[in-house]
């Protein structure tokens, strides 16, 4: 986890109890601490670093006392100690180390020992050089270390945001994304977080994924933060006694919500790095909320536009489709009373045709509604291809009566899992389409079998005709509802193929349109093949 490493006591942050002592919060916030860089050792624990510096210089001096070396050699040893210290401590302590060591060198080692020497030119040059080198070296190292620290925290921040982004892109819904983001935030800040989303009437309701349960006070502070578009709560000037820190999520001047963090009570202050990270997080979450809201809005818009279009199409075509057979029925019914018997036969045929057309229309509308309402729950069971095709033939009825119809199903055709009535409707729609779009003399063939596709076996049932074939311009839209062939005869809503596709997808299969080799169109429905369990055998 890329949390900043604390040098002093922040080892674990016990979660706050809800009945937290507010006076502590007030005292801590009134202290003029401001934002301090928690990761900077020079300010974070100065005393300890100065002590360390003095300790090291002292130790070198004491050890050096017993080592028989010339005083000049100690200059190099002190220099080494100062450079080494600069790798560990901040600028101030390094400066102190340089000065103290220079004094110690002069006082302890330069002859006469244990008194400040009066320097002759060579030694003062050496001491001066030493001091300069120690200062520059120490400062340089300290600066590099500061840069490195900066780099590291930048990297941590980038990693944290990267993790967040990755968690967010993996989410499919706003709820999932919020849950992922808050989960990340909880871990990163070692805090409980919450997200309040703007409701319809200007109020902000907490998202259920948040671990931070806001009490009344914090709700009010969050509301304030949203209203004033400014960060409020703990660690800020506004309502510092609140338990949480509340950041408004702003996008294009609009408040989309409030991101709230409840840091552990032990956390005395927030470093600029942490603060930056929190701001970055809030910005990401704001982006996410905005994106989801835009997506929702555009989907709603699309939905309305689409349903508007559908309504119009549906009304136009349904009223036409219903009225035609109804007027036939009405006229024929009226005439039945008056016509003589040989004309009645003709009227009866008209009535039968009209009722079949109505029946088909109502059936398709019902099927489409079942598909769209999501109420379609296929009951998959073992099916026999011949049964299904024969049932579809029966459903298609008289349209097929005068056709040359061929069935090509191999003797070893396996059973397959499907919803028999759905398959029957799908195939009947394909058969009826073939009848409607081809001349009456054109034969229709239904073939079935097993084929291998990408190493997986699947069952196919293919309805092919010898008609004019499919116009290539129409092919992409074939399975959309209310698409009708240009050359289609009057009648039909253009729902047939959309239903075939819907029914096949519902059963885990598919339908594909293509050209019949040698002329005509063919439609193939596919279903996954699986072997059924053994059948008790009593073959003699």
């Amino acid at each position: 986890m890329a949390a900043p490493t604390p040098t002093t006591a922040w080892p674990t942050w016990p979660f706050l109890s809800r009945g937290r002592n507010r006076s502590g919060g007030v005292a801590e916030a009134t202290a003029p601490s401001g934002w301090r860089l928690r990761g900077d050792r020079g300010t974070a624990s100065p005393v300890r670093e100065y002590l360390e510096v003095l300790g090291v210089i002292g130790a070198v001096t004491v050890v050096g006392w017993f080592v028989p070396l010339t005083y000049r050699a100690f200059g190099h040893i002190y220099l080494l100690a100062v450079i080494a210290l600069s790798l560990r401590v901040g600028r101030g302590p390094v400066l102190v180390a340089a000065l103290v060591s220079a004094v110690a060198w002069n006082f302890v080692f330069m002859p006469p020992r244990l008194s400040f020497s009066v320097l002759h030119f060579e030694d003062s040059l050496m001491l001066g050089t030493y001091l300069l080198v120690a200062l520059i070296g120490g400062q340089l190292t300290a600066r590099i270390r500061a840069q490195e620290r900066e780099e590291r925290s930048r990297e941590r921040r980038a990693t944290a945001l990267f993790h967040l982004t990755r968690a967010l892109t993996g989410a499919r819904t706003l709820d999932e994304a919020v849950a992922a983001a808050l989960d990340q935030a909880d871990g990163l800040f070692e805090a409980r977080t919450a997200l309040l989303l703007a409701g319809d009437n200007g109020t902000f309701a907490p998202h259920e994924a948040g671990a931070f349960v806001l009490d009344e006070n914090d709700r009010a502070v969050a509301q304030w933060a949203a209203y004033h578009q400014a960060t409020a709560g703990r660690f800020t000037e506004t309502f510092p006694q609140a338990a949480g820190l509340h950041l408004p999520l702003l996008r294009a001047g609009k408040v989309l919500g409030v991101f709230s963090l409840c840091l552990p009570e032990a956390a005395a202050e927030l470093s600029p790095v942490q603060r930056d990270l929190i701001d970055g997080f809030a910005a990401q979450i704001a982006l996410l909320v905005e994106r989801e809201q835009l997506r929702g809005a555009s989907e709603r818009e699309k939905f309305f536009a689409e349903s508007d279009r559908l309504h119009r199409t549906l009304l136009d075509s349904v009223s036409h489709e219903l009225k035609t057979p109804l007027s036939v029925l009405r006229a024929a019914g009226e005439k039945l009373d008056t016509e003589d018997s040989d004309k009645r036969a003709g009227l009866a045929v008209e009535i039968r045709t009209a009722t079949r057309r109505l029946d088909h229309l109502v059936g398709n509308l019902l099927n489409q509604t079942r598909l769209e309402s999501g109420g379609l729950k296929p009951q998959l069971d073992w099916c026999d291809a011949r049964d299904v095709v024969n049932a579809a033939r029966r459903t298609t009825g008289e349209a097929l009566a005068n056709r040359v119809f061929k069935m090509e199903i191999p003797a070893d055709m396996p059973l397959f899992m499907a919803d028999a009535p759905l398959m029957e409707h799908a195939l009947a729609n394909l058969l009826l389409n073939a009848c409607l779009h081809t001349p009456e003399s054109a034969p229709i063939t239904v073939a079935a079998g097993l084929e291998n596709s990408d190493g997986r076996e699947r069952v196919f049932v293919r309805v092919s005709d010898r008609g004019p074939g499919l116009p290539s311009a129409l092919r992409d839209q074939l399975f959309q509802k209310f698409r009708r062939g240009n050359g289609a005869r009057a009648g039909g809503l253009g729902l047939g193929l959309s239903i075939v596709r819907g029914f096949m997808l519902a059963q885990g299969g598919d339908v594909v349109a293509g050209d019949n080799p040698g002329g005509g169109a063919c439609f193939t429905v596919y279903l996954p093949h699986q072997a059924h369990g053994s059948v008790p055998n009593d073959e003699r």
Partner: protein, 232 residues
């Protein structure tokens, strides 16, 4: 009722007055006596009062489901029941058939089909199988000696195939659900094993039907079961 004692009497239970009127027209024309009831309760009372020869029952009644009516009806009598349903009522159709209904028709149906189904139902209650042989098409089944011939030649059936054929002959012209057949032949444990049934139906059809691609006698009722049509 006093007029024609030879005429079979039917009870139509349907809440749609237009359907009842139309059914009366069709059925009376075909020589049946027709009584009507508007609700399931009224229909059951009618049956109690004087049992008709057969009942035509709509599945969409306002007071009871088809399964419930059948259960109440079957407590008292075994009279044939033909149910009327609309598309989409598959599950209640199966429930009614499992509860003992003999056959079903899906609205809209043709008058001719209705009359054919009724004839078949009423034929069944007058056992025509006085002899020990049952004939359909060119097939002859000797029920006493368990022998089957087609066009004079012996058809060798396995024990299960014969049991299946016998079940169909006993319940000829009646829609049998998958569950009913599987329970009868393989026991209640085999209830969901539709593939047994499909496999054996394929074998039986191969041996008995004239044309395997267009079976005449053993007809499939999509999603429901099978029907043996003795006089197609």
């Amino acid at each position: 009722m006093s007029a024609d004692l030879t005429k079979p009497e039917l009870l139509v239970i349907d809440d749609e007055v237009q359907i009842r009127r139309l059914l009366r027209l069709t059925l009376e024309d075909a020589g049946y006596l027709v009584r009507e009831a508007e609700t399931a309760k009224a229909g059951l009372e009618e049956v109690n009062r004087a049992a008709p020869d057969a009942v035509i029952l709509d599945l969409g009644l306002p007071d009871l489901t088809g399964g419930e009516v059948l259960a109440l009806l079957r407590q008292k009598t075994a009279l044939p029941v033909l149910i009327l349903s609309v598309f989409g009522q598959e599950s209640s159709k199966i429930a009614a058939l499992d509860a003992g209904a003999d056959d079903y028709l899906t609205k809209p149906f043709s008058g001719g089909e209705l009359l054919a189904r009724l004839r078949a139902l009423l034929r069944r209650i007058k056992p025509a199988v006085a002899s020990n042989t049952f004939r359909f098409g060119s097939v002859e089944v000797d029920l006493a000696r368990r022998r089957v011939t087609k066009e004079g030649r012996t058809v060798r059936l396995t024990t299960m195939e014969y049991a299946l054929l016998q079940l169909f002959i006993t319940h000829r012209d009646k829609a049998l659900t998958h569950r009913q057949i599987l329970c009868e032949l393989w026991g209640p444990k085999a209830e969901g094993q539709t593939h047994y049934l499909r496999t054996y139906m394929m074998r039986l059809r191969r041996k008995i039907e004239d044309e395997i691609d267009a079976p005449k006698y053993f007809q499939t009722e999509s999603g429901i079961g099978y029907r043996f049509v003795s006089e197609p």
